[in-house]
Symmetry: D2
């Protein structure tokens, strides 16, 4: 509403009240102005009404929402379904132009602003999370793996001779495939066991660089966030090697923004050595739907080069999600989530320690891993070779998600490469184990429920020891369980637990 | 977004594009300004983005949406559920004040504006629909019946001696109860049969006024929209009687806004005689949810008196619904709906005529009723006294809603008054019949489906003639039908019909 | 999705996963079943996905949402605007039938269920809030005042001779008008001053009953929730009088559900004497939008009679709001809100005490009022007769809503009755004062902001003592304030306060 | 609601009504079952209530929506903002697994079903649109360019020696960059002029294949949809060359699904020769927001290989959009859109012909291009070399979007390659021209407004002939225009046009 509208309003109801309302409007506008001028995440989260006003204001700047627009091109932002238009707040043109995912679209000033502001806010948050000297970043509507691929494809143009990517082993398929998809040959560096921890074999890395010749190496591809007992790579030392041999360094920081330790490693690596880009998932760090990543780096020009490698426009959906989320939370809200995650990590750690000892197992000592924990499943594994996977299945059936059992001796072939001891990041880890993580947004009730159900499952597994486990199948387990449920009214307990 | 925000935006993306976006914003604002200045329904409907912008702008003028508000009263517009807040576009304070449902609320400039504008738009539409000289009106969040009660309660204060309301009979409970609830004694005037039509007995009305004494009569309570074969009351003549005897006149125009004939009757009545207020349903005339009515009249002061009789604040929900609806449709959209309704009336009329003749029945000749039609069920009734209600039940089961069968001889007592021939508006209508109406929003496929199903039901009823109908119950019918469905795949046909 | 759909799903993705998903569905269904079977508010609030599933399931049971429906009546639940349909979750038919607002609608099984369940839940909550022996209640889409009117109109039919309503004075317009609108003569009983409190003059009430003759008295109309220094009426004693003289008793419990004291008074009144109905606001007690009330009582038949007095269908909107709210909160959530309100009352009380003493004023001692507080404005009033209203205006401008200043000597005429000392519930209260209340949903930051702003306003008022206050108008105040704002950056502080 | 819930419902309201509601539910379920069983686009579009029921049912099968779930992984589908959760219908887990974008997720049965069904529906629609023998396809949340890159990256693994991609020139940056990004060297084949049309130089293509050696050629990369006067590539002949030399063939069918001609070309190409994959944009063909593409092909195994190349999970957002859109439209709705587009193409063609002749220009004769049209700007260009771009700018300012002016002699360097005559697909097209297209969803009012504004702009350009055009800038144009607007009230006209 403009001046004339307010004047008309004053004639309909009391001028004093309209003036008060008009004044109130200004405070929403003030927040929007601050955001646009500073490009920083507000300290306090916005309420929904400011947020929606802002999105609405942006959207009507896009040509598909012009009242008098006529479109005679091949892409005019028309939408067939009003449900779809509405769920995207009428942002239809996506982000970027054919040349550059960060470019401004003439047809869509609002979407372009949305894109710029989002990237600006995200940069602010990365600094806040610990990488203070980050120079530039952008949100890309692809998951972490494909975003890594895009980084490798960009490097290819700078290093035409390079064929290899040196990669300290981490048993997660998509980061392995990100290299294969980009057309490079991963050179796997096995980890070394230090105490319970699996750590980067720095010597092997350096030897391999020399052996292959630095020019033939596209980059070192290191990892921060990972499942225990693997721990984040020794980024500082790797960064120094990269600097010394003039080899690029791409860091897979998938869910590392939520950990000050991971972010600190990146900051330190960049300070003492070389890091070209670090890539992180939006969903895993910011509690948004799967589908976006942030590509960030310390050299503005290089990050821009990557953004120019993305051919064509792209979905604005992940950008919109993270924008809404950050404006809702505010930087204080995000900091609070980070703090709570840390506390939950300690809590989970203590609870797992207690439980494991009750079953003659132990919590692996992995102090360098700030997110994931591992508990041995030695006694279970000794009892029967199927017991470990059985436990995993039981947990799944009981609606425990994300707990991962790692049996010994699993072998898997991924894109032609064979990994022994797959899932455990090494050929022969000393024992089977179970992983659990404290990720952002975890609540105490998640931990409590998990511990309770794990306890129950471990008990059940023991009970069936006298049965012929080879013939023991999930169906039978379910049958037993169902009987138990009826007896104990466990189901109702569960709902109560879940909602309390 | 204000000037500074746009300036900041221009620094982020190209000034030319932002300027274009800003320009586009102005066209939305322009529409809003016109609305506030003129208070008329726009000719062309608004698109959703203008509408939501407008509602958003209004809502942030209410104190519950002030960013810096602190509330220390007993009613501060707080909302526990965000689902609820959202569905009301954050309008929480309702409309009106303790003294007057049309009053402005200091705490809620936005809701107050919404209320004023809505009433202004509705007034505009009533004029457009045919009552050109209407002076004032307001939306009240009560159904037609309770709104009539409010009118009667207001009149009580002006006519302390009055005990009676003269009411040409119409067999609809809520308008009868509206008088009872207000504490008056309805004086029922039986209708006279002219051809097939049931019309107002003017002589009986006038005689009754004289008999009771005008001062003892609170008002004449007449009706426009009604089920055939009753037709709208003779409003002109009644209005003249009211003027002559100085007796108020309240018109129940429940679903009459959709018919130019009903509206014309009111306009004429007011021109030649006396009409104090006419009351119409929001849902029946404007395709919004049940729950609101419009109280309108030709004397501004009297309408204001009624609005001041409503003690306390009231729900803004019906006002919001009609506002959204009228702005979406525009006056052209509403006119189009009126035109289509008229066409559907002819179509339904023709189809019913054809079908009835095929079954040796006939369409009653009721030219004064512009909405409702009636088809005799003579042969059915003659065959068996339960057959008529059976037909009604069968239609219901087949998802025909709103078709009403009227058997002979039904007697009903409402609030102590006994009505013979209830539902037929007279003690002894010559035959049983079936009603169907062409109401606003009806589509050709409604008519076609109805005719098809009615045909099928009439056939089925004939088929069961040889059975013992006394023992024939709905369950059996359903069983037969279910069998039939399986055989004929009728169900699938139905879906196809429904969506074609 | 039904059995066949799940089977088809299992062929598309793994059966184990679909089974797990299907199992998960059952837990939502379980909650819904419990609700329908027990009719009680769940202890723990439902999450949005269960809630929306439930509403969706109900809505598709209404004929306007049948895929194969054809409508040939005058009211078929058609909706012109999809925005409107959506915001009502596609419940269009409202609640009730022409005869009875609690009646089941054949066309709308879903809406009918919604209505029944809502009333059942609300009954459960009223018990939980302290009126354990309540027999029946229903939600009515009218504010408290109009709902009281409906109660009086119902009583009229039982007490045809009665003309008067005995009403211990409370200075709130809508409850006064509720009697006028119903057509009765209010007999105002002045309150007596006990300490600082204004309490019911029981003797005067009883004398008046005798004087008028019990048969001429429609009812006693008492009040629980009110602004201090008035306190809730002596319900027990009034109820005994009603029982003794066989006079009905209607209690205005507008915002009393939130206070265990008010609810206890009603429970006790009904135990030892007579209470026919008690009426409470939905918005003031349950944080939903304005527009609904609950009419409750101890005699099932009488409450049904009232529900049958409402002529015609009614808006389902308030019922939907309260249903969503109660299911979201659960009884535990509501209890928590009640507990927090009590705590805020203590906190507000302490803060006001401190502040008032700093300005040589005092908190009135009103221990019987559990919601509202009053602080004297003696020194202010002595200084200048406009100073008190000036303070009110200043608070309003500073976005303090709900604080009410009560000057001495205000006279107001409502519907022909003149009230001296209007707003103070008595002709001559000893001093001017300011009201503030702790209502449900109040937060500590509301209290803190209020105290801070009140402090600032009191200071400002003192500062302008040397000015000519007769010429001091709001405009000037605003000018001064605006200057001050620029100097102190108060505005920014305010935002920070508001969002911290 | 399950059987028990309905039973409980029957006790609350009439069993007959609940049964009717329950029956109605079955018809929604029936549609869902058909969809899951057949995997085809329903003929008639679903209404919103079936659609939302379906999405809701799917969503509650995902573990993040389990009521009793406890998550201890690093990715648990938690969402910080309820606005975000809601706009994704609570689908948070995205689609695919680390290994394969088409893989089923154990944690997310609902999202997995969504993904499968969407791909199945899309396959059905591609067949319907003309490529009857398509074998497999999948939706990928990347724009056309990046999707082409993914195809090239997949081919790399099958053709390790290949370095070149043979590419008949089309002046659109993202398809050029798609090859660069994938790390290949584009070999540009200039088009030949036949009449006004620019067509594939088949001889040059074949010669180049021979010259480079088939094994060194990754693929031929052809294009269907393009701006006139370029026309779709000669797919049949190219496909035959590919078959003969055993070279893969990737078709950029960006916005070709909407044209039966483009689809026919692909179908024919595959029949007589070789097409490995064809890629199309979601937004340009299906009126959804930017951000998704469909990769389709005739060899199931190859399409699966591509889907396995995408490393990691991906956004479900584009899949959700297309699913909602197709279910809303139904295949009949989509066919209707295709039909209307064709009609609009004729209409636009006629209108442009008339207008161009009035200005001594002509519509280029490009019968092979079914979507885009071109009008010469010869007289304009002859008059002044800036006049052509000036026209473009003027159209933009007047809210004509998508009209593209192509001046002569533009040179542009993209990723190191220099294109002469850029935008015109050839080094020296005979004249400057203007493009306009008839894309899906275009309305007659778009055409009319465009013709009107183009007319006005052409007039204005002529008027300024006497001015010094070198100093004529956009600002001045705007100034003139603004003056004009005030005089003519053009703005109001515009709104009327826009909404009529």
């Amino acid at each position: 509403m403009n001046r004339e509208s307010f004047a008309a309003g004053e004639r309909l109801v009391s001028p004093a009240y309209v003036r008060q309302g008009c004044e109130a409007r200004r405070s929403h506008e003030h927040l929007i102005r601050l955001l646009l001028e500073k490009g920083k995440c507000p300290e306090d989260g916005w309420d929904e009404s400011t947020l929606e006003l802002f999105l609405h204001e942006l959207a009507i700047m896009d040509s598909n929402n012009f009242l008098g627009n006529c479109g005679v091109g091949e892409r005019e932002g028309r939408v067939a379904s009003s449900l779809v238009a509405r769920r995207h707040y009428r942002f239809i043109h996506g982000i970027g132009r054919s040349g550059d995912i960060a470019a401004v679209q003439p047809k869509a000033a609002g979407s372009s602003l949305l894109n710029k502001i989002t990237n600006s806010l995200v940069l602010d948050i990365i600094k806040l999370a610990g990488v203070h000297t980050v120079a530039n970043c952008f949100v890309v509507p692809m998951a972490t793996g494909m975003s890594l691929t895009l980084c490798f494809l960009t490097l290819r143009h700078k290093r035409p001779k390079a064929k290899y990517i040196i990669w300290p082993r981490i048993d997660q398929k998509s980061c392995f495939k990100s290299m294969i998809t980009a057309g490079f040959e991963p050179v796997v560096i096995e980890n070394v066991l230090e105490g319970d921890e699996l750590r980067t074999d720095l010597k092997a890395v350096e030897t391999k660089v020399q052996e292959l010749g630095p020019d033939n190496v596209l980059c070192i591809h290191s990892t921060t966030s990972c499942f225990a007992p693997r721990v984040p790579d020794r980024l500082e030392e790797l960064a120094v090697i990269c600097a010394n041999y003039d080899v690029p360094h791409i860091v897979n920081n998938a869910y590392g923004v939520q950990s000050s330790k991971c972010m600190h490693l990146i900051q330190q690596g960049a300070r003492v050595g070389r890091i070209d880009a670090f890539v992180q998932s939006l969903d895993k760090n910011f509690m948004v739907p799967v589908g976006g990543a942030i590509i960030a780096g310390f050299n503005d020009a290089f990050i821009q080069e990557i953004s120019k490698m993305y051919p064509g426009r792209a979905s604005a959906s992940p950008s919109l999600d993270i924008l809404i989320t950050l404006l809702s939370l505010g930087s204080n809200g995000y900091k609070k989530l980070l703090k709570e995650r840390k506390e939950m990590f300690s809590y989970l750690s203590n609870q797992l320690k207690k439980l494991s000892e009750a079953y003659n197992e132990r919590l692996l000592h992995t102090p360098h891993n700030p997110i994931s924990l591992a508990v041995t499943l030695k006694t279970l594994d000794e009892y029967h070779d199927k017991a470990v996977t059985q436990l995993g299945s039981m947990l799944f059936t009981r609606q425990v998600s994300g707990a991962r059992v790692v049996p010994l001796g699993s072998v898997q072939t991924v894109s032609g490469y064979t990994f022994r001891g797959f899932m455990s990041h090494t050929n022969n880890y000393p024992c089977a184990y179970l992983n659990a993580a404290s990720a952002i947004g975890m609540k105490m009730q998640d931990v409590d429920l998990f511990i309770k159900r794990l306890d129950k499952c471990l008990k059940t597994v023991r009970k069936v020891q006298n049965k012929d486990i080879d013939n023991y199948d999930q169906t039978e387990d379910v049958a037993i369980e169902e009987m138990a449920l009826k007896l104990d009214n466990v189901l109702l307990d569960t709902y109560k637990d879940a909602s309390s």
